[in-house]
Amino acid sequence: MSQLFTFHWQWMLAILGMGVATYATRLSGLLLMRGVVVKGRAKAALDALPPSVLMAVITPTILMTGWAETVAGVITAIAAILRLPLLATMVIGMGSLWLLKTFAG
């Protein structure tokens, strides 16, 4: 029987803490920055934040797991650069990994 709720207090603490941290980013933009325009170097740095963090997240999976993951990562990147929809890109990526592992492993 699968459960509906785990009641781990550490889990709830992490979730609430992440919620407060996230809301803090949104609220501080409203309260601290009324009318201030962020530009130049600070804006370039903040703009780079999402792709930079996401790349760091996937580095162990793509570059440190095995050659099949690396090749499938390149194939996924090509599909993404061709601007295929998100789900199509994911299917291509995961399908190519499965093919590589099944037939070339």
Binding site: K39, A45, L49, V57, L63, L86
Partner: protein, 223 residues
């Protein structure tokens, strides 16, 4: 537009279930955190013993971009009562922000328009997260699939942020530092270290434009 959230929420719920999340746990995180990218990253980091402080710090850094978006939106909602503005910020996401900014280009941003685009996304996100967790529980262990599914999704999002060779330098440095940190630093610090290294490179490579055109201060474009 609302439909784009459904498969993402369900995928996130299924990946969370693979890490032991029950449906109400998934619902709680999507309800309280409500930030897609940081939730996917958190699930990736979710391992006992739970690195609670690192999870919170990472969520903060990953979502710092909302600081700029909120700042930008605040210019357009001055007609909304002050007490209501903090509530509007709670449901500010990349998608809601992009649509609201586009609207603000052609006229004032009304409370109704903002609530119309940002309002439904929140319940869609947390309800379908829970549904995804139910399906994930039923399908058993998706963890093996999950790692690469996450990578494939993030590759797609990174491509959406692509703005030329400087982006290449950012993700190259991020990957290199993350790789080294994964080898030499215990735990999951490689995410923050790699991410901040990429940001530092972006700041270093930044060249002030000679002519400031009438371009909006923040470009649209996070998926």
């Amino acid at each position: 537009m609302f439909l784009a959230y459904v498969p993402l929420a369900m995928l996130w719920g299924a990946l969370a279930a693979a890490k032991g999340f029950a449906p109400l746990d998934a619902l709680a995180m999507s309800f309280f955190v409500y930030a897609g990218a940081s939730q996917f990253i958190a699930v990736d980091m979710w391992k006992e013993p739970l690195p609670i402080l690192l999870l919170i710090l990472t969520a903060f850094i990953v979502n710092l971009r909302h600081f700029l978006m909120a700042a930008s939106i605040s210019r357009h909602i001055t007609s909304v009562p002050k007490w209501m503005q903090p509530l509007l910020m709670y449901i500010l996401t990349d998608e809601a922000w992009a649509l609201a900014e586009r609207r603000a280009l052609s006229g004032p941003l009304s409370l109704g328009f903002y609530l119309g685009v940002a309002g439904p996304l929140w319940p869609i996100w947390f309800l379908f997260s829970a549904l995804g967790a139910v399906i994930g529980q039923a399908m058993g262990n998706l963890a093996a699939l999950g790692d690469f599914a996450l990578a494939a999704m993030f590759i797609t999002i990174i491509a959406g942020f692509w703005k030329g060779s400087r982006t290449g330098a950012v993700i190259g440095v991020s990957a290199l530092v993350a790789l080294l940190a994964r080898f030499y630093v215990p735990g999951r610090w490689y995410i923050l270290l790699g991410g901040l290294a990429g940001v530092a490179i972006a700041a270093l490579l930044h060249v002030e434009e000679e002519v400031q055109g009438p371009v909006d201060t923040i470009e649209a474009g996070t998926p």
